[in-house]
């Protein structure tokens, strides 16, 4: 039997049952490889369920530092009989199947082109432990111990990780170490030379950190000065609110009084959540909500109010597979249009689109500055892939000289000095009016906020000209936004490129890997990573420089293309859409195939 031989470049997939305690063991496995200086990226593939359904954890080991999902499986750790057939079939020829051989499995269930690694995990665990829960939990640690031996992961690294994990529950450290050794020693004695996939110590990780996007988002909101969070539980955004709460408990409790410099409300629904954010922002607090597609659908009316009445708001949308309930535990980039044009009537909203947890941290912090500067809702569009998976990214940084931009808020002193206050009056030429906060001045600056049409001084009006004047100013304000939102990241190919490629969000790591592979094959592409809507002139200029531009999106309908065509007046024929929307994380292989196929088609057409 041929064996895939590889050092620091392979994919391990764990097939488990959810609720079995495998998640933390698997994550420890990934971290141990990182601690050996070898980059990894991991992906959770989980059901919308708490216990008993299949779940997978995929770890890509990449010494070269490719952090996208690769596709394919070199080593399958098959711990779930329910998904056996599918799991075994997904192993690349020459790959490895590691399974619990305590119960016999018929020979017909093993394909001929893979290597089988048998270990009686349940027997070993049952012999060592009496308590059923312990038997289950330690079984996970036992297989991690075995894998460390098979793959050459230093067991000391794993022992140290266990020590860190149970810092607060020291009694658990020794039994976990024991289980780890049990697995390790079994593999040493019975499974030598069973696997030619190896991890070798390297120095490719540097200072990078391993973190989920939702945790980073919660932290970004703390750094951005959010004091009010209102939210409703929904996968995959729940952990944003939970992370915010966790970080607040750490950083925002007044040491002297023990009181909180934050308020978190679990609302009765998403409508209430955005209403609370709008009320708090109207009253001068920095406030946000975190949600996913169905929540965005519910918030539509309020989003129109915030747009029209010009109230800051931050909405973190962790996108999942839509429409309707869709695929709650799968990833997509399919909320672009519903966010960009949220609510009835003519509206346009600012979108920030981060590529990884680090940029998500930064964009969350920045979103409050933008919301208050522009007095409008700001959407931070991340997705399940960024939000719920651990990503390897550069450490987060913060400039201590940074001050919050609280936008145009007229003070009591300014009002007293006789400064003209017109709530919807453009005095600076940037179409952003001044606002006042409730309770500022006894006799000046009060106004009535409403979602109905009004004049520059906030007086109710149904005059057509007055309405249009306001709507035109809102458009001009959106123009102002173009210069304030993060610029696109444009990179030129090393050789002159005939085509460009546009991508955004969580596609970034797969795209980087695809570009390198394509370049090696002589296909050179200039790239633009979109980071925000509205689009600046740089976006239009990039597209106009090429006859054809690839546009990679994770949705069915090429929503970004619609947005670009609509907002930049570009001929739709210039775009070649590459669409990935099965809910799985996009891979470099997928992008490479799609672009290469199209490019060879084009060169063949040119030759004919």
């Amino acid at each position: 039997m041929s064996q895939i031989k590889s050092v620091n470049d392979f994919v391990v997939k764990f097939a488990n049952v959810n609720g079995s305690g495998s998640a933390s063991a698997n994550e420890m496995f990934a971290r141990s490889i990182l601690r050996m200086g070898v980059p990894v990226t991991s992906r959770n593939i989980f059901p919308s369920n708490i216990q008993g359904l299949p779940t997978w954890y995929e770890v890509r080991v990449s010494g070269k530092g490719w952090l996208g999902r690769r596709g394919g499986v070199d080593l399958m750790v098959a711990m779930n009989p329910q998904t056996w057939d599918k799991d075994v079939a997904s192993i690349d020829p020459g790959g490895y199947l590691f399974y619990d051989s305590s119960r016999p499995i018929p020979a017909s269930k093993f394909p001929g082109d893979i290597n089988i690694i048998r270990m009686p995990l349940t027997e070993i665990s049952n012999a060592a432990y009496k308590d059923p829960r312990q038997r289950q939990l330690f079984k996970n640690i036992i297989y991690i111990g075995a894998l460390s031996q098979l793959l050459g992961i230093e067991i000391e690294v794993l022992e140290k990780l266990i020590g860190e994990q149970y810092k607060a529950k020291e009694a658990l450290i020794a039994p976990n170490h024991q289980a780890l050794r049990m697995g390790h020693d079994y593999a040493r004695d019975h499974l030598s030379d069973a696997c030619s996939l190896k991890v070798e110590r390297a120095n490719e990780v540097g200072k990078r950190i391993f973190v989920t996007g939702n945790d980073a988002a919660g932290l970004g909101c703390v750094y951005g000065g959010a004091t009010v969070a209102a939210w409703y539980p929904i996968t995959p955004s729940t952990s944003v609110a939970e992370a915010f709460a966790k970080h607040c408990r750490k950083y925002r409790v007044d040491k002297e009084t023990g009181k909180n410099k934050f308020a978190i409300v679990q609302s009765e629904d998403e409508i209430s959540a955005i209403g609370t954010v709008i009320g708090a922002s109207w009253n001068g607090a920095r406030a946000f909500t975190a949600t996913s597609g169905p929540g965005i659908s519910l918030m539509q009316e309020f989003l129109g109010l915030a747009y029209f009445a010009e109230i800051p708001a931050v909405i973190i949308d962790v996108q999942r597979g839509g429409p309707s309930t869709g695929m709650p535990t799968r990833t997509q980039q399919s909320d672009l249009l519903v966010c960009a044009y949220a609510s009835h009537g003519d509206t346009k909203h600012v979108l920030l689109i981060p590529e990884d947890p680090r940029e998500l941290f930064e964009f969350c912090a920045k979103s409050f500055d933008l919301a208050e500067r522009l007095q409008t809702p700001i959407f931070v569009l991340e997705d399940l892939d960024i939000g719920m998976n651990d990503w390897l990214c550069e450490p987060f940084t913060w400039d201590d000289k940074r001050v919050y931009d609280r936008g145009k808020v007229m003070t009591a002193q300014e009002l007293e000095a006789g400064k003209t206050f017109g709530r919807y009056l453009d005095v600076d030429g940037d179409a952003i009016p001044y606002r006042t906060l409730p309770g500022t001045h006894p006799s000046k600056g009060a106004y009535f906020t409403r979602g109905s049409s009004r004049d520059r001084f906030a007086k109710y009006s149904e005059e057509g000209a007055v309405y249009q004047d306001n709507m035109q100013r809102l458009l001009r304000k959106f123009e102002t936004a173009k210069s304030l939102v993060p610029a696109p990241v444009i990179e030129k190919a090393r050789e002159k490129a005939k085509c460009g490629v546009i991508y955004f969000g969580s596609t970034a790591p797969a795209m980087r890997e695809a570009l390198a592979a394509l370049a090696a094959d002589g296909i050179h592409l200039d790239t633009m990573r979109l980071r925000a809507f509205p689009f600046s002139e740089a976006v239009t200029d990039f597209i106009n420089a090429y006859d054809q531009v690839f546009l990679v999106e994770q949705n069915r309908d090429a929503q970004m293309r619609s947005l670009l065509v609509n907002e930049c007046g570009i001929d739709p024929a210039r775009f070649i859409s590459i669409l990935h929307y099965d809910g799985q994380v996009i891979t470099a292989r997928f992008i490479i195939n799609a672009i290469a196929e199209r490019m060879s088609l084009t060169s063949r057409e040119a030759a004919e």
């Binding site: 209403g275 609370t276 309020f302 919050y404």
Partner: protein, 351 residues
């Protein structure tokens, strides 16, 4: 935060309260509601209550949803910030506003369509959370702005002006508020100013979720025979359980009530609430008793009004959330941002 008091030109004889404000200082734009609308009487009662309580107008935030009632915040407290939000969703906006700055007085004005139909969910959840506010529903049983459809508070068997018959059971917001934890609950009638004003004053002095349902006949669409929200019907079936008077340190308002047992209750802002019992043995500090009483009188076709329930030691949302004393909207980056030192620890724990 008081800034410089505004200069005032006024008739020397016009009454001035202890803070130097006249009635005019508590008024707003001219009402555009129908002549005789009960809502205007309620607006006047709110103005009167604010005057009597010497409230600084700009320290009030008035919020509403959509509908005739929700227009009224424009007609009072012109120096206060107002927020006419979306239909049925004022409670969530008010909740957020309150979270941002606990120092203002939050006045929510809504209607039966806004709070009992489209906004029932937000109403009960806002009360449940213990938001410190005065929430008034101007309850007329119909949709006025869309010309007379029944709302969820219309009594079963009510006739509409157009001749329709309401077959659905009514929702009683007072019972609902009691059930979900309002710590001040009252009901009144827009035709009874002497009852409304002290009730609103007591609600404004209450540091917790205060709810008052005020039956306010719609003269255009629901003031006919066969309606249980018409002036005549309410006058006939109004059963006040008590009469209120707010005393020291402020001057008492003259209220006329039949002699009976009186009780004095200290209010949180230093004032005293004088309660004159009209219904024998009615105890407004007994929540379960109040709920039973409401149900039995409603079954008898009576509308119970007055101070229905008060918990004199309420805990509000900020107490539950253990927020700092300073309003959250006044905290600066120094107090909010953990800076690069915080990130160093974060980065170290994620490697």
């Amino acid at each position: 935060m008081t800034y410089i008091a505004k200069p005032k030109l006024r008739h020397p004889g016009i009454p001035v309260n202890k803070r130097g404000f006249t009635h005019r200082d508590y008024e707003g734009s001219i009402s555009t509601l129908c002549a005789g609308c009960g809502h205007d009487s309620i607006s006047f009662a709110i103005i009167q209550a604010c005057f009597e309580l010497n409230i600084e107008p700009h320290r009030v935030a008035k919020l509403s949803g959509i509908g005739c009632s929700s227009k009224t915040p424009d007609y009072l407290l012109g120096q206060s910030h107002g927020f006419n939000s979306v239909h049925g969703r004022m409670p969530s906006v008010l909740t957020g506003a309150n979270l941002a700055n606990k120092e203002l007085l939050y006045l929510g004005v809504s209607g039966d369509g806004d709070s009992a139909s489209i906004g029932l969910g937000q109403f009960v959840h806002c009360v449940r959370r213990g938001v410190n506010m005065v929430y008034i529903t101007e309850n007329n049983g119909v949709y006025g702005l869309t010309k007379g459809q029944f709302s969820a508070t219309a009594d079963k068997g009510s006739k509409s002006k157009a001749g329709g018959f309401n077959a659905d059971s009514p929702l009683d917001l007072v019972s609902m508020a009691l059930m979900v934890g309002a710590t001040f609950v009252g009901r009144s009638f827009s035709g009874d100013k002497t009852q409304m004003v002290p009730l609103i004053m007591a609600a404004m002095s209450h540091p917790g979720p205060a709810f008052i349902d005020i039956v306010s006949p719609c003269v255009a669409f629901n003031n006919h025979a066969g309606s249980t929200k018409a002036y005549d019907f309410v006058r006939e079936h109004n059963e006040a359980v008590n009469r209120l008077d707010i005393m020291e340190p402020r001057e008492a308002i003259k209220v006329e009530y039949a002699p009976g047992t009186t009780e004095e209750v200290a209010l949180h802002d230093g004032g005293t609430l004088k309660l004159a019992k009209l219904a024998a043995n009615y105890d407004p500090f007994d929540r379960i008793g109040a709920m039973n009483y409401l149900q039995s009188r409603a079954a008898a076709g009576e509308l119970v009004t007055g101070l229905i329930y008060m918990d004199n030691g309420p805990k509000d949302m900020h107490a539950n959330l253990n927020t700092v004393d300073a309003p959250l909207n006044r905290l600066s980056e120094k107090e909010l941002c953990p800076g690069s030192a915080g990130l160093a620890a974060y980065n170290a724990s994620h490697s």
